[in-house]
């Protein structure tokens, strides 16, 4: 029983920890991208259309990194393939 509980603890901890750490860096990147885009729009308001379109594509790319982390931690919590071996 001891081993199973340790397994559960490590799984839950890893899922929470990976969300916490995996979201920090995409968030920093998105913040930088937004700040730069705002600055460019403020400097050149007539280029709002192309800038915001490129910004959306870039944000989507950064967003997908955070989404990978979310998917991994969801798999760890709800569809962990290793559960079968630990809980016979």
């Amino acid at each position: 029983m001891q081993g199973e509980i340790l397994f559960l603890c490590v799984t839950v901890f890893t899922a929470g920890f990976s969300i916490a750490f995996g979201v920090v860096f995409p968030a920093l990147g998105q913040g930088r991208a937004c700040a730069q885009a705002l600055e460019s729009i403020a400097r050149q308001p007539e280029a709002t259309g192309p800038i915001s379109r490129t910004l959306f594509v870039g944000l989507a790319m950064l967003e997908s990194l955070a989404i990978y982390v979310l998917v991994v931690s969801l798999i760890l919590l709800f569809a962990n393939p290793l559960f079968r071996y630990v809980f016979k």
Binding site: G49, V57, M61, E63, A79
Partner: protein, 221 residues
């Protein structure tokens, strides 16, 4: 919460399980088809209110495509417009009681990404010829061939995972709010999920346009 992760089988059709996702997809499809039929039943040169909204949408999609690949707006409109309309509707379908957003199932999201995966070489070969399209894979040097192929595959996965993760994440958050307090509290989150769903549809559409217009673009040299 369990129903978010385990497929709920409604009934069996010829031995194939028909899940809640499939039924929700049918309802979304029926809604879109009936709405389109109703609006285009009597088209007027002077548009009525509903026709005006749809014309606005079609024009926005054409402008989006024209901005990236000039002259091809009408050509890509059927694919891009249907993707945008379907994903936009499907992503907010979970606001209807009893329905599940079809795009929060990985199978739906991956199927939509596969459509894009096959549409890119289709339009590329149709507009530049087989040689012209596949030359892109070995340019500027054949060493890059594996990287081009890997990028085709990974971007399909990232399209699917992005849509799936965002919509499922939103559904989970609404589910947790419902567990905490079912009355009124989830409403702001549900409103926010409309925003997320439409943004995700926009991003999927714009990335599709980017990929296709990169494939049909003719490079010199």
């Amino acid at each position: 919460m369990e129903e978010l992760f385990n497929p709920q089988v409604f009934f069996y059709f010829l031995g194939l399980p028909v899940t809640k996702t499939v039924v929700s997809t049918w309802i979304v499809m029926a809604f879109l088809v009936i709405l389109s039929w109703f609006i285009t039943r009597r088209m007027n040169p002077v548009p009525t209110r509903l026709q005006n909204i749809v014309e606005l949408f079609v024009e926005a999609i054409i402008n989006l495509i024209e901005g990236m690949s000039p002259g091809n707006g009408r050509k890509f409109l059927p694919l891009v417009g249907s993707l945008a309309l379907f994903i936009g509707t499907a992503s907010i379908a979970h606001l209807v009681p009893g329905l599940k957003a079809p795009t929060s199932d990985f199978n739906t999201a991956f199927a939509l990404a596969l459509v894009v995966f096959f549409a890119v070489p289709f339009y590329g070969i149709a507009m530049r010829g087989v040689r012209g399209y596949f030359r892109e894979y070995v340019s500027p040097s054949p060493i890059l061939l594996p990287f081009h192929i890997i990028s085709e595959i990974t971007r399909t996965f990232s399209l699917a995972l992005r849509l799936f993760g965002n919509i499922l994440g939103e559904e989970i958050i609404i589910g947790i709010f419902f567990l905490l307090s079912p009355l009124f509290v989830p409403i702001p989150m549900m409103l926010f999920s409309v925003f997320t769903g439409v943004i995700q549809a926009y991003i999927f559409t714009i990335l599709t346009v980017v990929y296709i217009s990169a494939a049909v673009e003719v490079h010199e040299g």
